[in-house]
């Protein structure tokens, strides 16, 4: 039998095991214990000599102090901004890390590459990305003279004219040196030009004519849809400007939280900007001009370039660049003799950020040579218009070759090849969805049958839940009553032995009242009566109720009357010892017959 202490320990172990088992089905956090990522970010890409730029280093996967090394900061005065740690749990995925901030004050003009930042973690060196910052002497925005106002906004175009398809960038900068809230702005709307916000807004500080401003910058791509001259209407920023109420002179309480400021609606606007869309020149336009406007590169690769007969090789074309990337055409693979080709679905990734709109399109084919020898894939060309050079250009790839090793006998080409043979790798295509649609409706008749749970009344639910504990409590109660009765029965059975003990100790010659008292207690306990004083008649009646014979109960009554007479009337009959013996004998008879 297990000892109690050991049993308790086992119980707790089992409870712990169960909890861990059940929780492991619910929580599936992923801790990247061994992978770290380091990212370098700037709050803006352009600055002037009077600005300060925030550089943030984010290290994911660790917590604690780090000492990074960041090259490229020799042209800046650097001040530490502080560090903080973060811990996120999103949909069961856990991530944690450190942010460190630095403020850079440029010392001279130019374009500077900062990074990569290097951090030693657990004895290994990890590197981040690089970032680029362009520092100019003065801001190029118009309306800089508005720096006398506490709030103003400027609008600028990256260039005043563009070709159809060429993307121009429209930048709004909202400067404010007072408290504002509830900002809302809508881009200009004009037929023939399509505006689209690029990424989220950025915020930074800037100095204009010696005054410090907070700046919110929004960038839009502007795509001309038709030729002509346009005037981009002004953009308006609406806001509520917070003003101090009269009498609220205490600086600490100037915060809007304390209700001592009021909000005054205000708006600022920009100037309108002229813009022209020029037609693409006809001179030099290739016949197969793709319609692309921007700067593009084309790369072609083939892997592997040495294959066995019947094996496949993957031919990839990657077109990347800046401009109207969404219209990058699907390249048609020229016919190559003795080669079967299987085209994959082209993949286009467009990136719209504050740096502009760029994209990369990847097209792949599986080429399966049918004969041995050398196969040449001719050069691939892509024509586009470069608006910076104002000429049509052609991006080309180099011709590529695939060497096909001598085919084995044709009969063997038909043999079954094992999948486990690494030397012969069958071409497997990734299954990609080329279309999406919803699944059909539910038809079965039981689709509209309500589930049992919906048909339950709250009383039914209560009945189902509370009936088992109610039954348990009833059984508990009945058990308790039975045990109580048993105790009662046990106690009553012990009454006789208790009486014999008392009678042995009592002196019958001088202490008869004690005898009566002991007998009274005996009858009360034995017959489970209320405990009051019992007369001889009561005792006779109760004894007969409990199946004691008439003779015995009547004898008992006479004996009790004799005892009472000797106590109350002082009458002496039998000798005390005789009385004692008679009493004990009578009690024994009663004990044999009584049924309680």
């Amino acid at each position: 039998m297990v000892k109690p202490n050991v049993k308790h320990k086992q119980t707790w172990l089992i409870i712990l095991w169960f909890m861990l088992l059940i929780l492991s089905f619910g929580i599936r956090p992923s801790f990247s214990l061994a992978s770290f990522t380091i990212t370098l970010k700037l709050d803006r890409k352009d600055a002037t000599l009077s600005d300060s730029v925030k550089l943030t280093l984010v290290v994911e996967g660790i917590q604690g102090q780090i000492t990074p090394r960041i090259p490229g900061l020799q042209n800046f005065r650097v001040e530490r901004g502080g560090s903080s740690s973060f811990f996120n749990m999103i949909n069961g995925q856990v991530s944690r890390g450190i942010n460190q901030e630095f403020f850079l004050m440029p010392q001279r003009e130019g374009t500077f590459v900062i990074g990569p930042a290097m951090v030693d973690i657990q004895g290994k060196n990890y590197q981040s990305n690089q970032v680029t910052l362009t520092v100019k002497k003065v801001a190029e925005d118009s309306n800089v003279q508005d720096a006398t106002q506490p709030v103003f906004m400027t609008a600028s175009l990256s260039q005043p004219s563009a070709y159809p398809g060429e993307i121009v960038y429209y930048t709004l900068k909202f400067y404010y040196s007072i408290s504002v809230r509830d900002l809302s702005v809508s881009p200009p709307e004009i037929d023939g030009l399509k505006f689209k916000q690029l990424g989220d807004h950025t915020e930074y500080t800037s100095r204009v004519k010696g005054k410090q401003f907070q700046v919110i910058e929004l960038k839009y791509s502007v795509t001309p849809e038709q030729n002509g001259q346009f005037t981009i209407p002004p953009s308006t920023m609406r806001m509520n400007v917070l003003e101090k109420r009269r009498g609220s002179g205490f600086g600490f309480f100037n915060d809007d939280f304390f209700g001592l400021t009021t909000a005054r609606p205000h708006s600022v606007g920009t100037n309108s900007l002229p813009f022209e869309t020029k037609s693409l020149p006809d001179e030099g336009r290739p016949q197969d001009f793709s319609g692309l406007v921007g700067q593009f590169e084309l790369q072609a690769t083939v892997t592997p370039d040495h294959v066995k007969c019947g094996e496949s090789s993957t031919f990839s074309i990657i077109i990347q660049g800046k401009g109207n990337v969404t219209v990058i055409p699907d390249i048609k693979l020229p016919e190559i003799s003795n080669v079967k080709s299987y085209a994959d679905q082209p993949d286009l990734k467009v990136k719209e950020t504050h740096d502009g709109v760029s994209g990369i399109k990847t097209m792949k084919w599986a080429l399966v040579p049918q004969n041995d020898g050398s196969i040449t894939i001719p050069e691939i060309q892509l024509s586009y218009f470069n608006p910076q050079k104002e000429t049509y250009e052609i991006a080309k790839s180099k011709p590529l070759h695939i060497e096909v090793l001598e085919c084995e006998k044709k009969e063997q080409l038909v043999t079954f090849t094992s999948q486990s043979d690494d030397a012969l790798k069958p071409f497997k295509k990734e299954v990609k969805m080329f279309n999406r649609d919803i699944l059909p409706i539910h038809h079965p008749p039981d689709a509209i049958e309500p589930i049992k749970f919906q048909q339950l009344h709250p009383l039914h639910m209560g009945f189902l839940i509370f009936t088992p504990p109610f039954l348990f409590l009833c059984i508990l109660f009945l058990n308790h009553m039975k045990r109580f009765q048993k105790l009662d029965v046990i106690a009553s059975k012990k009454a006789a032995s208790k009486l014999y003990r008392e009678l042995r100790e009592i002196d019958f010659s001088s202490d008869m009242p004690e005898v009566l008292k002991a007998l009274n207690n005996y009858f009360n306990e034995r017959m489970r009566l209320s405990g009051g004083n019992l007369t001889p008649d009561d005792i006779e009646k109760e004894l007969q109720n409990r199946k004691v014979s008439e003779e015995n109960s009547s004898d008992m009554k006479k004996l009790l009357m004799t005892l009472e007479a000797s106590v109350y009337a002082g009458m002496q009959g039998k000798q005390p010892e005789d009385i004692k013996h008679s009493l004990i004998k009578r009690i024994k008879h009663i004990e044999k017959e009584i049924k309680v």
């Binding site: 089992i14 059940i22 509209i448 309500p450 088992p468």
Partner: protein
Amino acid sequence: MICTASEAITPVNTHALFYDANQAYEKGEFETAIQKYESLLQTIPPTGSLYYNLGNCYFRLQKIGWAILYYERAKKLIPSDPDLDFNLRYARDQIEDEIEKQTSNPMIFMLENVSLAELFWFFVIINTLFWLMLIIRRWHQSEWSYYVLVGLTIIWGLSAMSLSIRWFNDIKDVRGVVVASEVIVRAGPEQNDTGLFKLHAGTIVQCERKDSEWQLIQFTHDKRGWVKSEDVIQIADNHASYF
């Protein structure tokens, strides 16, 4: 969509109406199918499949907001249905707004694929076994019954907690779906109040309170505002009451 059927719908012809609605859907008469499904909802307790079919009809009509609303209502009743999961994922991909990731309690995340009915019945069974084992232990105290009771106690506690959490979440579900194609969220419950941000059809928001024709909603912790009540419908439907 208001049902205007004049004939009484008896239990016998609910199946006929359902069949007609399905036929209308197959023929491409989606508006007719919606009317028939809606009239069924007026008379019988809603089922997951009924909501699912309604979601499909609205999806075909390219009303993504309404489609997602009905898919979400179906998800409360049949959360593990694979067809519903597939269609809801596809519909969610059509939402224009970027949904910001929200942190979630792992326990609640685990309960999303189990319906309230399933949790309830599981608890009823475990509850019955638990008390039955207690009764058995009154007379038969063996070692095996002891360990079985310990295990049942843990499962009973966890299932009671799960049922309570899930029931509470269902009662306190204040999520709403933007059903208008585009809605401007304003700073106040008036048409000329400042517009703060835009939301598009299918986006899920938290509905806080109503003020005549307007209601206050929250998209993220820093994006709150007022919209017209008709543009955002709450997922928790009175039809979906279990009583």
